[in-house]
């Protein structure tokens, strides 16, 4: 067995181990946990690059825990989709950690820093776990690790964050339990919990009501976690009041990993055949996504609080990814769009939330109407915000353009023309609410609504540790956008499509 085949389990195991080490180290010195976490995550990043390389060149990695063969033991499976997501998650976690270095000082009491970093590391471990596992019950455990730490991390902010955190506990737990319940229904029919094994056994019993019921429960449960439109109610408050680092991490990677679970269910455990012919969910998914896109954008336009606006924008952006998945039975471009948007939204929204946190920290501003003059006071952050906002809108050289292009190609290819209109319209709506902010930042002069100038001007310049990750993400928006349009990612997309067994290659 090659060393690289141990990397997935090493990443997860070391991430957990590292979290508890950090807690102990925190008693010695409050600054240690951050450095341990950063160092370990950089190691994981290198490991994940090796894993991605191995998966692309050799093939999927299958790791049997304790040497037990798959139907009995827990199996970790890394195919192209997992490896791709793992790299994204780890890199965003690293950037988020660097950002948090300057940010937590202003938002969280100092004595809580060691536990804060421990919880962040545990959440990261949970996310890595969901990404690498190939076992349905194991996935539930990682899901709960990622969620429970997220509840606690949101509540750390105190004050207004408490009630949203409690709502999230209730809704998130109902979602997780529904997921487990659905797994139980399928288990009661097939008698297995391994994804690959289940995929082989399920086609014989696709007609079975218990299987269909289980599928429905899993989908609803995971959709609550991934705040797909009608189930998004817990999310705007949480993103508005959580610590900035956590908002940024949750909006960029936490929800992507949750959505990845949905994709695993759609493509790997069940098949598109089941979704199309036994459930009839293909076009319905597209329409739910379309409503999500429009409703999220319209609500975002109504908001005055920047972070709440970004939260609703996230609801709309998750709609894009779901639309890609919904279009995938008709056209391979759909899945390409979804996969591309997972990365593009992670970069763009992460950057936007970091900017929102930075503006709040330096100037103490939350309301968009008070933002005049930010462009001069905080040139780097404003530039980063503008680039990321352009990426969300979908202006050509940026990343958002690529995923919108893929989705429009998918709708055209599938002959589902209404979605072309909806995608273009939503681009326009995105322009409306992002332009409002950019306009306030750069062009409005002293038409201030209430407290221009006297906004408690904390005014301390931001530390480099907060500006650097923001700028890196903004730069990535452009670089990734250009890369998507070249043929560099083709082998990866090819691998992802064939690993998710779409049977079609571009």
């Amino acid at each position: 067995m090659l060393l690289v085949e141990h990397f997935p389990v090493l990443i997860v195991g070391l991430a957990m181990f590292c979290a508890y080490t950090m807690l102990l180290a925190g008693y010695l010195n409050r600054k240690l946990p951050f450095f341990i976490s950063l160092a370990m995550n950089c190691v994981f990043f290198i490991m994940s690059l090796f894993v991605l390389d191995h998966v692309l060149n050799v093939g999927p990695i299958r790791y049997w825990q304790g040497g037990w063969r798959p139907p009995w033991g827990i199996e970790y499976v890394i195919d192209a989709m997992n490896a791709y997501l793992l790299v994204i998650v780890i890199s965003i976690v690293i950037l988020g950690l660097i950002y948090s270095r300057g940010n937590v000082k202003s938002e969280i009491e100092e004595r809580k820093h060691p536990t804060f970093y421990t919880l962040v590391q545990l959440m990261a471990a949970g996310l890595y776990g969901i990404t690498v596992t190939g076992d349905l019950f194991n996935m539930f455990i990682w899901l709960e690790i990622a969620s429970l730490t997220a509840y606690a991390l949101i509540a750390v902010a105190g004050g207004r964050a408490l009630r949203p955190a409690y709502n999230y506990v209730i809704m998130g737990s109902v979602g997780a339990v529904l997921y487990l319940f659905g797994v139980g229904w399928i288990y009661s029919v097939t008698g297995t919990l391994n994804m690959a094994d289940m995929r082989l056994l399920l086609p014989l019993v696709y007609d079975n009501r218990a299987v269909q019921m289980g599928f429905a429960m899993i989908v609803v449960g995971v959709m609550i976690k991934a705040y797909i439109f009608p189930l998004h109610l817990w999310q705007p408050d949480v993103y508005t009041y959580a610590p900035s680092t956590i908002s940024s991490m949750m909006a960029s990677v936490h929800v992507k990993v949750m959505f990845y679970m949905l994709m695993r269910m759609f493509y790997s455990v069940f098949t598109l055949d089941f979704i199309r012919h036994y459930i009839g969910l293909d076009l319905l998914t597209c329409w739910v996504a379309a409503i999500a896109i429009l409703a999220g954008s319209i609500w975002a336009i109504k908001q005055r609080n920047l972070r709440r606006m970004l939260a609703y924008s996230s609801v709309s952006q998750m709609g894009y990814i779901l639309l890609g998945v919904g279009l995938s039975p008709f056209s391979p471009w759909g899945l390409v769009g979804a996969v591309a948007h997972i990365l593009n939204h992670a970069i763009g929204k992460g950057c936007l939330f970091m900017c929102a946190g930075a503006i709040r920290q330096q100037e103490g501003l939350k309301d968009i109407r008070d933002f005049e003059g930010i462009g001069k006071k905080m040139p780097y952050v404003s530039a980063a915000f503008t680039i990321a906002a352009l990426s969300m809108i979908g202006i050509p050289p940026t990343a958002g353009f690529a995923s919108k292009l893929f989705l429009i190609l998918a709708s055209l290819d599938a002959a589902q023309y209404p979605f072309v209109v909806i995608l273009l319209l939503s681009g326009l709506l995105n322009l409306v609410y992002f332009w409002r902010v950019i306009d306030q930042i750069y062009f409005v002069r002293h038409e201030g609504t209430k407290n221009a100038g006297e906004a408690e001007g904390r005014g301390k310049p931001l530390p480099l540790s907060m500006v650097a990750p923001t700028l890196i993400l903004a730069a990535l928006c452009v670089i990734v956008g250009i890369i998507w349009l070249t043929d560099i990612p083709l082998p990866l997309l090819d691998r992802i499509l064939s690993d998710l067994r779409m049977g079609v290659t571009i």
């Binding site: 019950f137 539930f140 455990i141 709960e144 429970l148 509840y151 606690a152 509540a155 105190g158 004050g159 207004r160 408490l162 009630r163 955190a165 409690y166 506990v169 209730i170 737990s173 109902v174 997780a176 339990v177 487990l180 319940f181 139980g184 288990y187 009661s188």
Partner: protein
């Protein structure tokens, strides 16, 4: 009708579990008191454990020498092994052991948050909390601890 009654009686575990789930979900949705919501959630989780554990029940129709209709508990027990009794499927039980741990953790986190909310607002009724939040927003001030 007769078929229905027989059907219910044969699988009464599942029916009872489903009934409890409906009741508990109603509590989660309807109740305004945060603690009552949490109790509803706990019952929901427990009902699911009941449902899961019922899955492990095997050999319903097999009559053993004892006249037992179901599998014996899945504990290695020499006498039962000698007589060739059927064990209940241990896997759902083991899964639910993990599930109980998760449920306990969820309850602990939620209770901790409820305590913080009580310290902040001085109440755990959801509508009163929202009212207070609106009040604070109108005054434009930050929240302060209600108890201190």
């Amino acid at each position: 009708m007769e078929w229905l009654i027989q059907h219910v009686l044969e699988k009464y575990n599942f029916w009872v579990a489903m009934l409890i789930i409906i009741i508990s979900l109603t509590a989660v949705i309807v109740k305004e008191n945060l603690l009552k919501k949490l109790i509803g959630l706990s019952i929901f989780q427990t009902a699911m454990f009941l449902w899961y554990v019922s899955l492990g029940d095997v050999g319903r129709d097999i009559l053993t020498t004892w006249g037992l209709k179901t599998g014996t508990p899945s504990i290695l027990w020499e006498e039962a092994a000698e007589k060739g009794y059927i064990y209940a499927n241990p896997l759902p039980n083991v899964l639910m052991l993990t599930g109980i741990v998760v449920s306990a953790a969820t309850t602990a986190v939620a209770l901790a948050i409820v305590i913080r909310i009580y310290q902040k607002y001085g109440t755990i009724e959801e509508d009163e909390i929202i009212e207070k939040e609106m009040e604070f927003e109108r005054e434009g001030g930050e929240l302060k601890n209600a108890s201190s």
